[in-house]
């Protein structure tokens, strides 16, 4: 009797979840298409539609013309990679936030806290200041990616205590090392005005200039990391209950933490390498996901990725169109939207209605 009631409720919950998920996915698809229709250059809807048809495999060759070569370039080479890039970066940051918050059992952490941001900045600044081209056109991005990984690993090793990595140790080490590296970055930037300008753009975060080439690889890493993280949902759920509890139900705590952090770092670093430091997505979106879909990572991980993609995409649309002939760094927009949301979240936390 009681069981039947609960199961029925459960079914209702599941169908509600699918409804919400389908609505979100549809919203993402609409946002993607909408985003390619807007920009500082006004391109007629008919031309954009024709360009879309042209891009379709097999039948594309028969598509009508009705657009100029410049319009084709703007849509296919400038807007499309930026739009897909926004979705990928947003998804990576939200995924990273979900996993890091679970590992640290802390609602106000984000993936940057373990050294990803400072590491990536260091790599970018080194590449810019030495003008290196060891990795060709993508030296800045690749160096940022590698140093970001290296710094996170350094933080991890420094936090090693008798075979374990206590989360609080990891958190504090991450903050300390981040500050240390920021000081080094400051030292390199000091009295180099040009470098300051370029790094400023990096620090604010921008999705402009993303090319299909880099996007291919970054998408692969982000999707892969998202997939692996979503298979870790039980372990991440268990970690939220504290390490002793997770261990007692059979979770290999240390391995899970290491795996989750490495996968997160790879995904987020890849995203950050092409976007610079975009704040607040990783902090705020996972909470939005939990408010909408409950606490279990089974739903929160995939849904946060979609929410993150939508959030960053719409923020970028604002950044691109708010001022005519000018592109604001998207990090400014996410900050402007993210901070009020964060304050709202804090008030809910303090009221104990969400996490006490």
């Amino acid at each position: 009797m009681v069981d039947a009631e609960i199961t029925e409720k459960g079914h209702r919950r599941i169908s509600l979840f699918f409804t919400k998920a389908v609505i979100l996915a549809a919203f993402l698809a609409i946002s993607i298409i909408y985003s390619t229709f807007i920009g500082s250059v006004n391109i007629p809807v008919s031309s954009i539609t024709a360009i879309y048809l042209r891009q379709l495999p097999f039948i594309g060759g028969y598509a009508a013309s009705g657009y100029t070569a410049t319009q084709y370039e703007i849509i296919v080479l400038v807007r499309e990679p930026e739009v897909i890039g926004a979705v990928m970066v947003g998804a990576a940051l939200a995924l990273g936030g979900t996993s890091v918050q679970s590992v640290f059992r802390n609602p106000i952490t984000e993936p940057y806290i373990i050294g990803i941001s400072s590491g990536a900045t260091l790599g970018a600044v080194i590449a810019l200041s030495t003008n290196t081209s060891i990795f060709g056109a993508y030296s800045v991005q690749i160096l940022a990616f590698i140093t970001s990984l290296a710094v996170v690993l350094g933080v991890y090793f420094l936090s090693f205590r008798t075979g374990r990595v206590p989360p609080i140790y990891l958190l504090l080490t991450g903050i300390a090392i981040s500050l240390f590296i920021s000081a080094i970055v400051g030292l390199i930037l000091f009295s180099n005005l040009r470098l300051q300008n370029e790094t400023f753009a990096w620090l604010l975060g921008s999705l402009s200039g993303i090319t299909w080439q880099e996007l291919g690889l970054v998408s692969l890493l982000v999707i892969l990391s998202g997939f692996i993280l979503s298979t870790l949902w039980r372990e991440l759920d268990a970690l939220q209950m504290g390490e002793p509890h997770a261990r007692s139900i059979g979770v290999n705590v240390e391995r899970t933490k290491l795996l989750a952090l490495i996968i997160t770092t790879v995904g987020v670093s890849a995203a950050v390498s092409i976007s610079g430091l975009i704040g607040f997505v990783g902090l705020v979106i996972p909470h939005l996901g939990r408010m909408l879909f409950g606490g279990s990572n089974r739903k929160v991980i995939p849904m946060s990725a979609i929410l993150g993609g939508i959030f960053l995409l719409l923020s970028d649309d604002l950044a691109r169109t708010m001022v005519h002939n000018e592109v604001l760094p998207v990090g400014i927009i996410t900050g402007l939207i993210g901070v009020p949301f964060f304050m709202y979240m804090l008030s809910r936390i303090s009221r104990g209605s969400y996490v006490s």
Binding site: V2, D237, V253, G295
Partner: protein
């Protein structure tokens, strides 16, 4: 012997456990008593492999825990910790279901486990919003759902209302009746006396006495373990021991 501790030594900071030898007989309720800071909770974390002993080993059915994967340990030993982190926005049912992580077969459903503990009505409530006692019962239900032959509980009755305390005691006795071995960390001497069949008394990380309850719970041993004189109250039911000076 489901659980055995042999010549175990473990130190962390200034605190250390030394010369720990314990045998937990199958089907018994073993209580670990002692003052605050005597090493009870640390010992419990060693019993399910969360900490790794510096010297010696913990054996389950003759196999050292350090040779077992956490998954295999959790099929044999379930744990009800006293300190628990608040998960983000989990329902009580989700918390219970989580304990099925390593289960091979669904011998008991999460709902049945919750019913056993009389908390079916809490299933869809937010875990963070439950009272302390309700949370404890959810965690016990989780351990029941985990369906291990040995269950460790750290202070299962601490900070509970009288009715919840009785409920927990009843569940413990029922589980024992079903053939489970229980290891309880308890600071309350009268609980050790009324609930357990076997008792280990710790002091400063060393064993004062261990064995069957009747042998261990002597006034002499209690004085050693708690640096306090006790007297025996006659006809006081479960409340047999009281400080001598009251």
């Amino acid at each position: 012997m489901s659980l055995e501790v042999k010549r175990l030594e473990f130190s962390r900071g200034t605190f250390s456990l030394k010369g720990i030898d314990i045998t937990v007989p199958d089907g018994s309720i073993l209580g670990i008593g002692g003052q605050n800071g005597s090493g009870k909770s640390t010992l419990m974390k060693l019993l399910y492999g969360f900490y790794r002993p510096d010297v010696g080993n913990v054996y389950h059915n003759g196999i050292s825990l350090s040779e077992l994967h956490p998954r295999d340990i959790s099929r044999k030993i379930a744990v009800v910790s006293q300190e628990i982190s608040e998960p983000f926005n989990f329902t009580a049912l989700e918390v219970v279901r989580l304990s099925g992580y390593s289960k091979e077969n669904e011998s008991i459903s999460p709902h049945e486990a919750m019913e056993t503990c009389g908390i079916s009505h809490l299933a869809n409530r937010n875990f963070s919003e439950l009272s302390g006692g309700e949370k404890r019962l959810v965690l016990i239900a989780a351990a029941v759902y985990q369906d291990a032959s040995t269950i460790l509980m750290d202070e299962p009755t601490a900070f509970l209302d009288v009715d919840k305390e009785q409920k927990v005691k009843k569940i413990i006795q029922d589980l024992n009746g079903l053939g489970r071995t229980l290891v309880l960390v308890l600071h309350d001497i009268n609980l050790l006396n009324s609930l357990c069949t076997h008792v280990v008394l710790l002091r400063d990380g060393a064993i004062i006495a261990s064995g069957e309850k009747e042998e261990v719970l002597s006034l002499e041993n209690l004085e050693k373990a708690y640096t306090l004189k006790f007297r025996i109250l006659e006809d006081a039911g479960p409340y047999k021991f009281a400080p001598a000076e009251i």
